[in-house]
Subunit: 501 residues, 2 copies
């Protein structure tokens, strides 16, 4: 590559850096709005966000960007990072530019109204209140898909926002196989004589003691408090402003031990990913987790595969017993079963490790049908309830605990849900490779040594940031295409043992 190209690459990185600065400022405002902002400032602060995001939009869609794209169109011999950086910029530019500005503006206004309508409708458990908004949102999405274009399936275009390289064709296979396997396993569990206890989790646990224990655990796992902090918020989340400031939030329930702890470990998994992003990716637009699905694979890996494993608690349970007299007299076996209780339920965010993916697959099937015109918005409550009955054997008694439970559709985030189940699938496939590379990994967990696991994830996944597409990454790391096989094996093995099937 010649000097002129190198210089242009540096120029591009400086340009992208400005975008990153704006995003970091917006990120901090966003965090503050959820963690500490005084009530009266919420509305005026939204204006600041509005201003900064319009500045960011200008940078992303400027003629300067077009010039960069044109310049690099014919340039050969770029390294992986530079190639991906240029591609990523081009993709964002085109996705944005293809939507007429006035339609984008109208959609933004609609989306914020629709969110409010969803909240109201959920409060009153009345889907009809939300329906007219959701219909408009879906119409917009269809219009946008036409601008963006699609190859085999309209829904692919939406999936691409959250999980580049994933398609309906792939998901139908993978999710179909997983759904059938879980439904079958669930059937057996329902027949099992084992009924795990969980009364001891529902005693009184002070917020402070939970907070301390949560911090103790995630620090052990590798979360760096010099590059992050934990606060409280209504909904737990992870947010980062660069790789040196990755913040977690948790919500504490004083009458339920598991909630905050596993949510802290989950967010900790997201956060460790972002903390591990190398400095060299600054100013490339690739200095973050590559996709929602890979991100969820990291959070769920720490939360479930590690955090709900027997070996993990062999190490942590004595410490938990020392800190929490509530566990006095509770056997290790009872504790372990208690954190792995399977119980088909109505609410996705409260689901256990096994049934969780079914909640997601239901949403996937519905979204795909909706976007392809196979069902209409008016059909949603009915279809929803049928699928819950069929796959999980439960039926919502109201829209609030059914079709209205998640906010994702209200602002048009169709295509997002699959990431949650993809995370499980990626995670188990990584686990399989990890076990091959480190046959003693569970022994290390039992000793409280999480360094090698962390290092494996860092070297194989985290350090690449968003340089490789998820499909490339899983192939690079495991040598195989994405498959549900390992997750199914993992579930069968784990729950067969727990429920003595």
């Amino acid at each position: 590559m010649n000097e002129a190209h190198k210089e242009k690459l540096n120029e591009l990185r400086s340009y992208i850096k400005e975008l990153e600065y704006l995003n970091q400022a917006m990120g901090l405002i966003f965090w503050d709005m959820r963690v500490g902002i005084p009530k009266k400032a919420i509305e005026p602060r939204s204006e600041v966000i509005g201003y900064l995001s319009s500045e960011s939009y200008k940078l992303e869609t400027s003629d300067k960007v077009k010039e960069f794209i044109d310049y690099f169109e014919g340039v050969e011999g770029l390294d992986d990072v530079s190639k991906s950086m240029v591609e990523n910029m081009k993709k964002n530019y085109e996705k944005t530019k293809k939507i007429p500005a006035d339609r984008h503006r109208e959609y933004t206004i609609l989306a914020s109204k629709s969110e409010v309508a969803w909240e109201d409708a959920k409060d009153k458990s009345d889907f009809e209140m939300f329906k007219p908004y959701l219909e408009k949102v879906v119409d917009f999405k269809e219009e946008f898909i036409n601008y963006w274009g699609y190859e085999k399936n309209k829904y692919d275009t939406l999936l691409d926002f959250y999980e580049p390289s994933i398609t309906v064709e792939k998901l139908d296979n993978i999710f179909g196989e997983l759904r059938d396997a879980i439904v079958e396993l669930l059937g057996k569990i329902k027949e099992s004589k084992i009924k795990p206890r969980d009364d001891f989790f529902k005693k009184d646990f002070s917020k402070e003691s939970q907070e301390e224990f949560g911090k103790f655990v995630v620090e052990k796992l590798g979360y760096d408090f010099d590059a992050g902090r934990i606060d409280e918020s209504v909904h737990p989340f992870t947010i980062n402003f660069g790789n040196k400031d990755v913040r977690i939030t948790t919500k504490y329930l004083t009458n339920e031990f598991r909630s905050a702890l596993f949510s802290t470990i989950h967010e900790g998994g997201h956060a460790i990913y972002e903390q591990d992003i190398p400095d060299e990716l600054e100013g490339t637009g690739l200095g973050n987790g590559v996709s929602m699905g890979i991100h969820e694979s990291q959070s769920r890996f720490y939360e479930n595969i590690i955090g709900r494993s027997k070996e993990f608690w062999r190490y942590f349970y004595p410490e938990a017993q020392r800190r929490f007299p509530q566990f006095e007299g509770v056997s290790f076996e009872d504790f372990y079963r208690g954190i792995n209780t399977v119980e088909p339920s109505l609410i996705r965010t409260e689901a256990d490790e096994l049934t969780y993916s079914l909640h997601v697959i239901i949403r996937y099937e519905i979204e795909k049908a909706l976007i392809n015109g196979k069902i209409q918005v008016g059909d949603l409550p009915g279809v929803w309830n049928e699928k819950y009955k069929e796959y999980l054997g439960v039926e919502p008694s109201s829209d609030a605990e059914g079709v209205l439970q998640d906010m994702h559709w209200s602002d048009g985030s169709f295509g997002y849900f699959p990431s949650y189940a993809l995370g499980n699938i990626y995670g188990a496939q990584f686990l399989n490779k990890m076990k091959n590379d480190m046959p003693n990994m569970y022994e290390e967990i039992e000793k409280g040594n999480f360094k090698e696991i962390h290092n494996w994830l860092k070297e194989n996944i985290h350090k690449h940031g968003a340089v490789y597409k998820p499909a490339e990454l899983i192939k690079m790391v495991t040598g195989e295409e994405l498959t549900a096989k390992y997750f199914i094996e993992y579930l069968n093995k784990k729950y067969t043992e727990i429920y003595e099937l």
Copy 2:
């Protein structure tokens, strides 16, 4: 005023609003850097600040601003707010534009190095380490004063940044009179037989109990927690992002009751000022306190005039005794004297109400001489120590507790110090008028009713934001030019009684 003018005014306000948005984003980052940022993020976050402030600089100095200035040059009949808005924009534009960009850049770099050098020098208590930096800073200031121009005194140009309309001529009179009066009063106090106790303030006070009491007090005074919050930081400060989010910080000492409490009340005074700024001033650049001096008048009014008054503690002392068993058996008289102890000392930030102004006047006299070439940087430690001996009767045993104690000179903030003493003078002049308007004000304080006082400050001072210059404001409110008379009267009366002179 015709329609075209009105439209242009609206256009200008939208333009200024963008600047305000940027400033609010920077403000939040600044707050976070002092309150919660993880260690490793400090350096990268400075880059975000750097980016945003260069964007803000561009907006302030753009050709667009020049156009606005030219447009309004000949326009008659503007209301007070619009007139002041245009003037303020013009002033900022010219102040910035008159400095060549490369000299400004070099100065910024020097200032940040000089700050570091000051910190080192202070740690090692060695003025010689700091001297070469300070010499360069002073050279720059002299060069800049030449760009900006001056009329009677070079130092006036610097004063104007912090206290528009204040001059050396005025300060020499006012500060001279005040200095002599305090020195005289202090002499008498030194001879007094009254030696207030303060041992009961130095017991163990938990951070939590101090925090709760501080919140209780400032809320009573009128601080609105729906438009603000209190956190902890190394140095207490108040910062606002608009009038709906005005945050305070405090530092808690567990072995000193007075420190956090009075600093919370002090910051509360600043904060109430900013919370009272009317919404209508949004987008004018005038939606904030008018000057450092007027700001200090509000904080010191609440901290000292109200917060260290007998009547205030008639109301709050029973509550303090209820909360703090440490005050068991401490008489009201002892408590009241204890919070008003006079003790000449070396460190400005720890000085009592009476001697505080002397610390400031010493700095004023030194800065004035330095900027006008009457003394050189090398003379500073000597001149400093002489003046401390002369006015306060104490002598620093090291540079750290003498000339190196404050950071203000390291980044060239000459002209800032006088505001601290001006605050006391403005405050007492306001008090005099307030007592005329509300003869029963102290009775109301004793009843715990602070609403009318707050309302008086709001109506007379706060609601004007930065529309009127300090000299205009004091005249408008009190009918008189600024005078030290009322502050001297106030001090004499209060301390004559306390020390039975």
